[in-house]
Amino acid sequence: MEGIRSGAVSAHHNYMISGMLRPGFLVGDPGSAKGFYLLADFLLPGENTPRISGRFFDERGDMLLELTWNRLMLDPADCLYRPTPYGFHLSKSSGEIILETTTRRFPNGYITSFSGRLYDEKGVLKLDQEGSSARLVGNDSIMLTAPYQGCFGKEKKNA
C-alpha cells in the first residue's frame, strides 16, 4: 500500500533514522576493501553503547576515516574523534562536523540519533541532515534484527 512505511523495532535499543526507529541498519558493505559503509549495529539487552562502524568520505570522494565499533582505525585526513556524555562526535580537522551520535536513556531502553552528513567514495550523499535528525539517502539500507556477523574489509584481507 502506498505511503505505508514499515520495519522492525526492538524493546531495548533503537536508532532513530529517517524518522523511524530501527534496531540496527547497514548501508554499503563493511567487507569491501575501499567503499563507503555505515553500520549501526543491533544491540542485545545488557549492551548500552551503540556500536557504529563505517568508512566515510568527503563530498569530493576523498576518504576521511574508518571507524570500527566506535574506534578510529584509519584517519588519513586528520579527523577528530571525541566522546561526549551522550555518544561521540567526529569532525574534520577544519572543525566541520562529520557525524555526531546522541543516545537518550529511558527507564526501559535507549534511542540513538545521528546528525551530520556522510558521502560515499564517489562523493554521493548517503546520510543527510533533516532538521535535528538524520535521513538515509537512497533505498539501499538493510535492517538488522540481530548483531552484525559479517566481516570487515581488513579482516578479510588478513584471512
Binding site: G3, A8, V9, A11, M20, L44, N108, G109
Partner: protein, 338 residues
C-alpha cells in the same frame, strides 16, 4: 546471514489496542490490554497491534514492544504532540479503514472514554463501556464484552454482531500485564496520515489540582473513614494520610452524620462513586449502600478490628486491627520515608 526473526513471520494483525501513554507509569492499562489482546489474538490466529500517536513517542513504542505488542502503528508528528480527541479520531479512524482490525480496545481512562465513542461513531460501529471481562465465546465465536450494569450488581454481556471493529473500553486493573522482555522485537508500521483537522480546543492552563472538592471522583487514591474511626481527631488523620499519598478523603454515612466530613465526601448509593487505583477503607463495615460507590476501585485495602466484617469480602488486602493504631503507624512510617 541474518537470522530470521519471529517478527518477520507476518500474519494479519486484527486485534488493536490504543496506546494511551498519558500519566505513564501510573497508567498501566495499555500494557494490561496488550496482554489481553495477545491472548485474544492467539485464539483468533492473529497478532496484537498498538496504535501510538504523538511526538517523540519512541520510549512508549519500545515499552509496548517489551510488553508483548507484535505490531506498532505509529505516527510521530509535531501536529499530534498533545492529546486531542478530534485529531486522534481522524488518524485512528483512517487507519482502521486501511487495516480493518476486528477488535479495537482502549483503557477506560478519561481520554479513552471520550476518544473511543467518537471513533466508534465515525466508523458507525458498536462500543461497549468500561468492560470488566472480554472473551471469545467458544460456541458462537462472538467477542463477548462484559460491562457492569446497575451499579455493578449485574453484568451485561454485550456483542457487536455485524459491524467492525468490535470496540470496547476496558476498566483499568482487570487484566495482568506481561513481564517486560528486553529481547522482544516487533513490526513497526508508519501508516500515512490523513488530512488533519485544525485544533479547536486549547488548554490554556493546567495546574495540579488542590481543591479537594472537585477531584474526589477523579482521585487515584481514596482514603475512606467510617464510624469505626471513632472520633473527629482520629478522622483528621485520614486527611494527613491522603496528603502523604496524593489522595482524597471519602466518608460513610455515619462519619458524615457525625460531622467528621462534609456531605460532599459521602460515598455510596446516595453519595459519590469513585474508581481510584487504590482505596483504603478504615473502620467501615461494608454495607451494600456504601460499597456501591467503591466497586470500581482497582485495589482495596480494608482495616477493621472485626475479622468477620463484610468489607473484607471486597478487599484485596484485609487488615484486622485498630483503626487509629494502624493509621498512626502508617502516617509515621510514611513521614519517615519522605
Amino acid at each position: 546471514m541474518l537470522k530470521r526473526n519471529r517478527y518477520m513471520d507476518r500474519g494479519t494483525c486484527l486485534v488493536w489496542v490504543f496506546g494511551d501513554y498519558a500519566d505513564y507509569f501510573q497508567n498501566r492499562v495499555t500494557l494490561q490490554l496488550i496482554a489481553k489482546g495477545k491472548a485474544l489474538a492467539s485464539e483468533l490466529g492473529t497478532r496484537v497491534g498498538v496504535v501510538v500517536l504523538g511526538e517523540d513517542i519512541g520510549q512508549y513504542v519500545m515499552e509496548y514492544v517489551a510488553h508483548g505488542a507484535d505490531v506498532i502503528y505509529a505516527a510521530d508528528n509535531n501536529a499530534l504532540k498533545d492529546y486531542d480527541v478530534e485529531l486522534f479520531t481522524a488518524v485512528a479512524a483512517s487507519w482502521v479503514e486501511i487495516f480493518r482490525p476486528e477488535i479495537f480496545l482502549a483503557g477506560a481512562t478519561a481520554f479513552g472514554r471520550e476518544l473511543f465513542p467518537r471513533i466508534a461513531k465515525r466508523l458507525r460501529t458498536g462500543l461497549s463501556a468500561d468492560c470488566v471481562a472480554l472473551e471469545i465465546d467458544r460456541e458462537t465465536g462472538a467477542f463477548v464484552q462484559t460491562t457492569p450494569a446497575f451499579g455493578g450488581d449485574l453484568l451485561a454481556d454485550v456483542v457487536t454482531p455485524v459491524m467492525r471493529p468490535q470496540m470496547a473500553t476496558v476498566h483499568p486493573g482487570i487484566f495482568r500485564e506481561l513481564p517486560h522482555d528486553p529481547f522482544a522485537l516487533a513490526e513497526l508500521i508508519h501508516p500515512p496520515l490523513p488530512n488533519l483537522p485544525e485544533r479547536k480546543i486549547e488548554v490554556v492552563r493546567r495546574r495540579k489540582e488542590k481543591a479537594r472538592r472537585a477531584s474526589l471522583t477523579d482521585a487515584g487514591v481514596v482514603i475512606v473513614g467510617g464510624k469505626g474511626v471513632g472520633s473527629r481527631a482520629n478522622f483528621d488523620k485520614l486527611f494527613q494520610l491522603a496528603e502523604l499519598l496524593g489522595g482524597e478523603v471519602g466518608a460513610t454515612r455515619p462519619a458524615v452524620n457525625a460531622g467528621w466530613a462534609g456531605e460532599e465526601r459521602l460515598l455510596g448509593q446516595t453519595g459519590k462513586s469513585v474508581r481510584p487505583r487504590l482505596l483504603i477503607t478504615i473502620g467501615t463495615s461494608g454495607a451494600l449502600q456504601y460499597t456501591a460507590g467503591i466497586r470500581g476501585s482497582e485495589t482495596v485495602i480494608a482495616v477493621n478490628r472485626d475479622h468477620s466484617a463484610p468489607i473484607f469480602g471486597l478487599a484485596d488486602l484485609g487488615i484486622v486491627g485498630d483503626a487509629d493504631r494502624i493509621l498512626s503507624l502508617l502516617i509515621e512510617e510514611l513521614n519517615r520515608r519522605l
